[in-house]
């Protein structure tokens, strides 16, 4: 059994084929890193998993996708998304909600917490797991624009965690934040894998080396190599993977 199982998945956006027969297996409770140069289809791949791809008009998906045992293509996407948290490339906390409400809204919508006390607890738990609690403990009712970029991104992680997801999708979460915050986020991610399965897109080889259990290399819409991280980092078999891991792509 796998958390995510893709068989021969192709995605067409408009007339363009973005994914070309991707086959992928993500084991439970691991950090699975997808690497690849920009434009290789990494983000699209994540958006297939939680079906955010539906929002793109004119997108077409072929092949089979199993997520947490459900057939993602026929399952109700709104039910599916309750099981999957996501953090985006650009920090996008809701600007009209306070720090507290940004996290609480995710917990309430998914029925994770109902009473005021339960919500309080979940918010605190999520912020702690996102390693943000100490910094915002006494300013929970401030708005996100008063936070730094890195703090905002960790707030987004907390929002995703507050749903108590079983699968967490991270789309280059450290691409737009400073190194110190990036390190904190990485720490948080690694500490999470006992509770959730993490699928993370990145193009920093060092970051991948630090957090990954498994790695898949995506190039031009195809998976050119995948396997346990150690094995792949020590002996990359393809030219593309070698270049990518050396940071040359």
């Amino acid at each position: 059994m796998f958390a995510v199982e893709m068989n021969n998945v192709s995605v067409y956006l408009g007339g363009r084929q973005v994914l070309k027969g991707v086959t992928l297996r993500v084991p439970y409770n691991t950090v699975f890193v997808i690497m690849g140069p920009s434009g290789s289809g990494k983000t699209t791949l994540l958006r297939v998993i939680n079906r955010l791809i539906d929002l793109t008009e004119g997108a077409r998906v072929e092949g089979s996708v199993k997520v947490l045992g459900f057939d993602a293509m026929s399952y109700d996407p709104y039910e599916l998304r309750k099981l999957i948290g996501m953090v985006f490339q650009v920090p996008n906390p809701f600007p009209h909600l306070t720090i507290y409400d940004n996290v609480a809204v995710a917990a309430r919508i998914n029925g994770v917490a109902k009473s005021r006390r339960e919500v309080d607890e979940v918010v605190r738990w999520a912020l702690e797991r996102a390693m943000l609690w100490d910094e915002v403990e006494d300013r929970l009712h401030d708005y996100p624009h008063q936070l730094s970029g890195g703090q905002r991104q960790r707030l987004c992680l907390a929002r995703a965690l507050a749903m108590k997801p079983r699968l967490l999708l991270l789309d280059e979460p450290t691409a737009n934040i400073d190194p110190v915050n990036a390190r904190k986020l990485e720490e948080a991610i690694v500490s999470l894998k006992d509770e959730v399965t993490v699928v993370m897109v990145t193009h920093f080889p060092h970051q991948a080396a630090r957090v990954a259990d498994y790695v898949a290399v995506l190039y031009d819409g195809r998976v050119v190599e995948q396997g346990p991280a150690q094995q792949l980092f020590l002996r990359p078999t393809t030219d593309i993977a070698q270049k990518l891991l050396r940071g040359e792509m």
Binding site: R51, I53, D54, A59, R60, V61, D76, P77, Y78
Partner: protein, 304 residues
Amino acid sequence: MRSKRDKLFLLSLLPLSLSLLAILIISIITMVLKSVDALQRFGFQLFASSGWSPENEAYGLLAPIVGSLTVSALAVLTALIFSLPLTIMIAEYLQGIVRGVVSSIVELMGGLPTIVYAVWASQYLVPLLKQFLMEPLHSALPFIPLFSCRPVTGFSILAAGISIGISTVPYVTALTLEAYQSIPSIYREACYGIGATRYESIKIMISLAKPAIVASLILGFARALGETTIAAVTVGNSMYLSSCLFAPGYTVAALIASQFADAYLYPYAESVLYVSILIVVLISVALSFYGSTTMIRWRSRIIV
């Protein structure tokens, strides 16, 4: 690719959204059905003569239709004379607070209820135009047919044209300003790069924006055509078709404003008025579409 919930969401939006479509269709059907009677009874004759005497069943729409077109043309001309310099002023010369204040004034003018323009125009502008524009033009150039009559009250085709024109300035300015400012700055930099003065660079910028300016004027014309309040108060309400701009006249909207309320009392009167508005609506909708598509096409070409 759409899930069941997405379809339900779309369906839940449809009933109320489609009311817009329903309103448009019902309006068009009403106007057409109401026009049929008069068109069948009078035919082309309706557009070839001028007159309004419901008692004798004698109707002619030539004067108000020509009046509407003339007034709108004058309005657009007025709007052009003021809008273009105002656009250049705001875009090229003004900065900081002054620029903010001037563009706020233009915006304020844009939403002002037209009835306020109408009051001001009838009480201040028309007498002013009579004294300082119409009378001098008449005494200096009486041999030109457009200026051949002596302005009696001042309430005339010209007065309506200029009054509506002034009320259209903010609308046209907003459109041209938006177009002017959407020209990528590389063009201006290129102008200065080859040593052009400000005047020379503005000349090039204006020539780049020309299709958009023409489109703004077309949209302004469409809007002026339907303007009722200012027209009714300044045009002088006369069915007499004159070649002179200083003579009182009618526009379709002004004719309707003064005659429609009692029109149901006479056979055909209501229908004749529907014919007149149908023509105005057709011209106005066609011009608006032409104007806005020209604008969109220009924008997609200028922005690289």
